[in-house]
């Protein structure tokens, strides 16, 4: 175990996988600078700065993946994926199926999103749901340094295109990360970040931490919240979510992305189609608004679900929950 932040964990995953498999390569605008250690280890053939041309960069990754390489493309900020949509959605996601299984597309895209840098909606757009909706693609969005490492390593080894989204507010968050080069986190497995019995809080990426914070606050009210970190949005670990909802009967889904046709809608639909009998209260979605992210700090922050709102929503679901009476330790004056 080492203490690494998310950025370090990502780089460690890349370093290990490039070391393990010479077909793995990294490309993107400025990667040879932003990931200088990789350049030093693997040289300019395998760590390639690209022109500013996301469409062809991603298309190149798709073409290279189909014919023997295992590219990792750094596309910087998620909104720039709009230039890469044909390559990702129409080529990487569809050409395997349309070819009757002749091709595989083992590629990984990296990109960042999320509030925290006051950069506005053209850099901050949580659009992961668009790719969850698109067939043939896998999508992960971890919340801890260890999961970043383990999921990126698995993604690189996967024979399908995997999109990895990084909430930029997590970049400098640190945590314990296993040192083993065979530390892999499977795609399609959610993590139960905290066990509980009264309500299930489902989330992913930075809002997992907000859910954990809420769970702690809910304890004060005698409410035991289970927190599920989806980690992998597609494939989705339906069973872990359903098991928890069947246990608690109450579900709150929290995401920073806007609500309409987002992951929270998918999870709510999952619960009401497959765990209906267990539900004891209306499901609650706490999401970002149907609005672009503004740059101004106060507006940007206003779009992020808060622990306060989560606690309030859960308390309304459980109006009879009694606050935990703590022994008052009277301080000597």
């Amino acid at each position: 175990m080492s203490i690494l932040n998310v950025e370090q964990a990502i780089n460690q995953a890349l370093q290990e996988e490039m070391h393990r498999d010479s077909r793995v390569m990294v490309m993107g605008e400025g990667v040879a600078k932003s990931r200088a250690a990789l350049l030093a280890s693997f040289g300019p053939q395998r760590v390639r700065n690209t022109p500013l041309a996301e469409a062809v960069i991603s298309g190149t990754a798709v073409g290279a993946a189909a014919t023997g390489l295992r590219p990792v493309v750094d596309l910087l900020f998620a909104p720039f994926l709009t230039y890469a949509m044909d390559a990702l959605v129409n080529s990487a996601g569809k050409l395997r199926y349309l070819s009757g299984g002749q091709h595989e597309f083992p590629l990984v895209t990296l990109s960042m999103t999320g509030a925290g840098w006051c950069v506005g909606a053209q850099h901050n757009h949580n659009l992961e749901a668009m790719f969850v909706h698109a067939p043939g693609l896998k999508v992960v969005m971890p919340s801890t340094p260890a999961d970043f490492k383990g999921l990126i390593k698995t993604a690189i080894r996967d024979n399908n295109p995997v999109l990895v989204f990084t909430d930029l507010s997590l970049l400098h968050a640190s945590g314990e990360v296993p040192d083993e080069t065979e530390f892999l986190v499977p795609l399609g497995k959610a993590a139960v970040s905290r066990e509980g019995t009264d309500v299930t809080l489902v989330s992913y990426a930075k809002t997992v931490n907000i859910c954990l914070e809420s769970a702690k606050q809910l304890e004060e009210f005698g409410i035991s919240a289970e927190v599920i970190d989806l980690r992998s949005l597609k494939p989705l670990d339906e069973e872990t979510v359903l098991r928890s909802v069947r246990k608690t009967g109450r579900l709150v889904i929290v995401q920073e992305a806007s609500g309409l046709c987002g992951m929270a809608a998918e999870i709510a639909a999952l619960a009401v189609t497959r765990a209906f009998e267990a539900l004891r209260a209306p499901v609650v979605r706490l999401t970002g608004p149907d609005a672009p992210a503004a740059a101004s700090w106060v507006l940007e922050q206003a779009t992020v679900p808060t622990a306060g709102k989560i606690v309030q929503a859960v308390r309304e679901m459980l109006p009879h929950a009694a606050p935990v009476v703590r022994q008052q330790i009277v301080q000597p004056a």
Binding site: T50, A87, S91, P135
Partner: protein
């Protein structure tokens, strides 16, 4: 070689006439035959919606191709593709996108894999695309990347004057494609795409040069789409004067005339070949029509790789 090529072309024409609902290559056969004649089994090809000539010239089985067009299980893609995105890995036809410009985005990656050792030594990658695709921004990105990264990639633009139902002069200046390519500083040739000898010669030179120095080349082949964009098509929107001019320069007729003039082809021989192709096409059709439909139970097979 020439005879074989000719044979394929004629097979192609016959066949295309028999299969509605496709984008035919009729009138453009010399492009396919010439370029593919310059390649060998090391080389890899990327094509588009108008792929029949490329596939047949590469040695595709007309029966399996037709089965694919009909959506049958014996098609090259098990019926998943239909006519628009046929790829046949076994023939080195590695990727096909029907998104106009899609192939241009994929090609540098295939060439990069080649350059980085993921192909047979000395292999070259060829991407076919139309004059319409040349208007897409991806052409610019693809050319720049291929030049900067020194990729072993041959760009082949079949300038057939049409972009679906729009004449290309409505979308670009007369000599635009050639000039655009030149602007990227790679070796570019613009030649008569209806003369299979010329195309073969130019492609051989370009492919040889790529094998030698690993850098990309560009061919613009001037040709003409004799039939509609997508069968059936009444061609009501087509300038008949221009069309007649090009029909007089039909690539197959041109080649036959030349072969006859050179004494390499007799009328009798030609009739034999025609009959042979007719039978081949009949066989293909019978094969395709007899091929079963895919099993809907297997609908989800091949969405994700294991």
């Amino acid at each position: 070689m020439l005879i074989r090529a000719y044979e394929e072309r004629l097979a192609l024409m016959q066949q295309n006439n028999g299969v509605p609902g496709t984008c035919t290559s009729v009138g453009q056969e010399a492009c396919a035959v010439g370029v593919l004649g310059a390649l060998d089994s090391r080389d890899r090809i990327i094509t588009n919606h108008r792929s029949a000539a490329h596939l047949l010239a590469r040695g595709a089985d007309p029966g399996r191709l037709m089965a694919e067009v009909l959506g049958r299980v014996d098609g090259y893609c098990g019926g998943h593709s239909g006519s628009l995105h046929v790829s046949a890995r076994e023939l080195g036809v590695v990727l096909t996108s029907t998104i106009v410009g899609g192939g241009l985005s994929l090609a540098p990656g295939v060439a990069l894999a080649q350059k980085m050792g993921q192909g047979e030594e000395g292999g070259v990658v060829v991407v076919f695309f139309g004059d319409g695709a040349a208007c897409e921004g991806i052409l610019h990105e693809s050319l720049n990347l291929a030049v900067q990264w020194q990729l072993p990639l041959l760009f082949v633009c079949e300038n057939n004057q049409w972009q679906a139902y729009v004449h290309r002069l409505e979308t670009m200046a007369d000599d635009a494609i050639y000039r655009w390519a030149c602007g990227h500083g790679l070796d570019t040739q613009r030649i008569d795409g209806n003369d299979s000898d010329l195309v073969l010669e130019a492609a051989r030179q370009a492919v040889g040069a790529i094998r030698a120095d690993g850098r990309p080349r560009f061919l613009e082949l001037l040709t003409y789409r004799q039939r509609g964009h997508l069968e059936p098509d009444d061609l009501a929107y087509v300038d008949q004067v221009e069309r007649q001019r090009w029909l007089k320069r039909d690539p197959i007729a041109l080649m036959q005339a030349r072969l006859k003039a050179e004494g390499l082809l007799q009328d009798k021989e030609l009739r034999t070949i025609e009959e042979q192709i007719h039978r081949q096409t009949d066989t293909a059709q019978a094969f395709a029509e007899a091929s079963p439909w895919p099993d809907p139970q297997k609908l989800l097979q091949h969405v994700y790789a294991g």
